[in-house]
């Protein structure tokens, strides 16, 4: 089931707080000075983390499909040979890309 931004925010707060409290801590580097992050930095990190997770959940399939479709040239070649041979290679390919990378419900 798809999560909400609030749920991701809670998740990220927990993950990042654990990291901040660990011996590794969370640091930033400002003009070659290494500093522990402050509360404002932490709040921004939580926002960035939650927005990223929501974006991947909601839109990750778009990029995956773009990469998997192949070039327009290759697709036109498939369509040409489908028309010559009465096959469905291109349609099968597109259907497979879509089913392999489903749009979230």
């Amino acid at each position: 089931m798809a999560k909400t931004l609030e749920q991701f925010t809670t998740e990220c707060t927990s993950e990042l707080q654990a990291k901040r409290d660990s011996s590794d801590g969370i640091y930033k580097q400002v003009n070659n000075e290494r500093l522990p992050i402050n509360d404002s930095d932490f709040a921004q990190m939580v926002i960035d983390c939650a927005n990223y997770k929501l974006d991947v959940q909601d839109n990750g399939y778009i990029k995956a499909r773009q990469l998997a479709y192949g070039s327009v040239q290759d697709q036109l070649d498939m369509q040409y040979w489908d028309s010559v041979n009465s096959t469905t290679t291109w349609a099968d390919h597109i259907a497979k890309v879509k089913s392999d990378n489903p749009k979230p419900a």
């Binding site: 990220c12 990042l16 590794d24 969370i26 640091y27 930033k28 580097q29 400002v30 003009n31 070659n32 290494r34 992050i37 930095d41 921004q44 990190m45 939580v46 926002i47 960035d48 983390c49 927005n51 990223y52 997770k53 773009q66 990469l67 479709y69 192949g70 070039s71």
Partner: protein, 172 residues
């Protein structure tokens, strides 16, 4: 005297770091920021960017950008967006050998208090699929006030692990 390139700030990461800030833009010259051997701690992450004003990274939704993604093993793709909270340089870096990003970003108009801040990017990397890729494009931060530097973060608040970041002034 002819023009020159002057180093303004530089930093080299020696351990995991959430974000890197370089400041010192205080003239109307063009500036250039380079990243060499920039690596991430978590697989399939990239380096995002913000401008700074008075040293603070701006997370307002005022970034517009567009670029071409050049991939050695797949179809080239376009990325464009408006009103974003950061500039996303889509790299999908990995954690394997040489899965690093290297870039030059030219910065224009940053010191102007009455114009937007602009930048152009050239980048090459080896991504998490061990394939060469890169991008070319540009961005604007659509706020008419002076910016004094840049800030880089790992995507999704993941850490940056390696890299040397340097800000130069291109003195005319």
């Amino acid at each position: 005297m002819a023009g020159s390139i002057i180093q303004v700030a530089t930093t080299t990461l020696t351990s995991a770091t959430s974000n890197v800030t370089l400041t010192g833009i205080d003239t109307n010259d063009a500036y250039m920021v380079t990243g060499v051997g920039v690596g991430v701690e978590t697989n399939i992450r990239e380096v995002n960017m913000r401008v700074t004003k008075s040293g603070s990274a701006q997370s307002d939704s005022e970034y517009d950008y567009a670029y071409k993604g050049l991939v050695s093993n797949a179809v080239f793709y376009n990325v464009s967006a408006v009103n974003q909270a950061f500039i996303r340089w889509d790299s999908d870096l990995g954690t394997g050998t040489s899965e690093l990003s290297n870039f030059i970003i030219y910065l224009y108009n940053f010191n102007s208090s009455s114009e937007y801040s602009f930048g152009t990017l050239e980048e090459v990397n080896v991504n998490h699929d061990e394939k060469a890729s890169g991008k070319a494009g540009g961005f604007t931060h659509t706020v008419a006030s002076a910016s004094d530097g840049v800030n880089f973060q790992g995507e999704s608040s993941s850490n940056l692990l390696t890299g040397t970041f340097t800000l130069y002034k291109i003195q005319s």
